[in-house]
């Protein structure tokens, strides 16, 4: 009888007894993510479910990520199949207005320059001894685009999904902190005060409707491996611009995006199991991710400076920093920085163009990368 009672109490203590130090560290990190998301407002829609998922998966013996565990079911259904990031992209497409980039097509090129960080970080990761596909996955953090990072990682380096996703979403939320010092360091005061004129509205409704269709076909033909990413974002945008399916647009940007964001976040958190996550490699990945986003900004600003020279001083290089995928945060940073140095300067529309270009640029960079890998016979 006494033995049975002791065994019963033993069962209640089993969770505590089996708690490893790495689980405790990850529960702490989960709490930190909850704090950053819920209290500080850093990407709360993602960091809250990720943080909670990290806590759940690090409680021993619950088996949430084992076969038939509810987190495993969600992970297998939405992450392994790449379904969640693609559904998120439909919502992003439905929420994005490509009008500013269509007004100034040259800003699209700033979206290309903002992807340099991906490839430079890939080289660095290779130099640090990461395997080819791990280096590709780490480099893609530089896309500064959560769904793209998850899409690539889930296919080619699922063991890195946790760190690269956390890096991508955390640094996206840190764009307002990371970019201003880089902008200040790389530009002169005279450059920062350049006023960019806002032209008259020049994009017809027909152009806006045809844009997603044409981009899907051209982009898909050139880089078919990335068509799921490009196709879904453009599907969302076409639904928004054609004006015929308002209910689907609302569902894509609200109900579907909200449900998938919750499931996506909790699934990413579920990959952050202590013994897997608490490694030196994770820290290196987080540092490389930070570097990738900083390099994107550096290259974007330099490209902005090049455009300034080519246009005879009409382009303010600050908008180059907006050529990343963190939308519309990077555009707001460019506007704020421009306004800080010249109170008559309103860079927002130009920066929004670069930022929208950065969104497509990040998707195209991933698509091109996957197609090149396919061409090289690596995937």
């Amino acid at each position: 009888m006494l033995e049975a009672i002791m065994s019963g109490f033993g069962g209640l203590a089993a969770g505590i007894v089996n708690l490893q130090w790495s689980n405790a560290v990850m529960i702490g990190i989960g709490l930190l993510l909850l704090y950053l998301g819920a209290k500080k407002g850093f990407e709360p829609l993602l960091l809250v479910p990720i943080g909670f998922g990290a806590i759940l998966v690090n409680i021993p013996l619950a088996g949430l990520m084992e076969e038939h565990g509810f987190l495993r079911i969600i992970y297998d259904a939405g992450i392994l199949t790449e379904l969640f990031p693609l559904l998120i992209f439909v919502g992003i497409g439905a929420m994005t207005d490509f009008g500013p980039v269509l007004e100034n097509p040259y800003t699209f090129l700033l979206g290309a320059a903002g992807q340099f960080g991906i490839f430079l970080t890939l080289l660095l990761a290779l130099a640090l001894g990461f395997k080819s596909m791990d280096a590709v996955t780490i480099g893609i953090i530089g896309a500064c685009d959560g769904p793209t990072v998850i899409y690539v990682a889930s296919q080619y380096a699922p063991h890195l999904l946790g760190p690269v996703s956390v890096a991508a979403y955390s640094y996206m939320s840190l764009v307002p902190v990371l970019q201003p010092p880089i902008i200040k360091m790389l530009t002169t005061e005279k450059e920062r005060t350049i006023v960019m004129k806002t032209g008259k509205k020049s994009v017809s409704k027909t152009t806006k409707i045809l844009f997603p269709i044409v981009i899907t076909i051209i982009g898909g033909l050139i880089a078919p491996m990335g068509l799921p990413l490009l196709g879904t974002i453009m599907l969302g945008n076409f639904m928004k611009e054609c004006g015929a399916v308002d209910r689907l647009v609302k569902a894509s940007e609200n109900e579907i995006a909200n449900v998938v964001t919750l499931l996506l976040g909790i699934s990413i958190g579920a990959t952050m199991s202590g013994p897997v996550f608490v490694q030196t490699q994770t820290l290196v990945i987080l540092l490389l991710g930070l570097l990738a986003i900083c390099l994107d900004t550096v290259c974007g600003v330099f490209f902005g400076k090049l455009l300034k020279v080519l246009t005879g001083g009409k382009v303010n290089p600050i908008i180059g920093a907006a050529g990343i995928s963190a939308f519309p945060m990077a555009a707001r940073v460019a506007q704020k920085e421009g306004f800080k140095y010249n109170k008559k300067n309103y860079l927002l529309m130009h920066a929004m163009g670069a930022n929208a270009g950065g969104q497509i640029g990040s998707v195209m960079a991933a698509a091109v990368m996957l197609s090149v890998l396919k061409g090289m016979g690596i995937i």
């Binding site: 097509p105 699209f108 090129l109 290309a112 080289l123 017809s204 152009t207 045809l210």
Partner: protein, 47 residues
């Protein structure tokens, strides 16, 4: 394939490819705008 060959190929073809594709898309946007120019009255009727 060696590590550096792989890395440099990705840098040159990947980044070069991205720049070329986005330049092409930029050109397509210019052509679309030329083919379907903005007309204030017609656009305001379309809403």
């Amino acid at each position: 394939m060696g590590t550096w060959t792989f890395g440099l190929t990705m840098l040159v073809v990947g980044m070069g490819g991205t720049l070329v594709v986005l330049s092409l898309m930029s050109l397509i946007m210019v052509l679309l705008k030329k083919a379907f120019p903005y007309k204030e009255e017609a656009e305001s009727q379309k809403g």
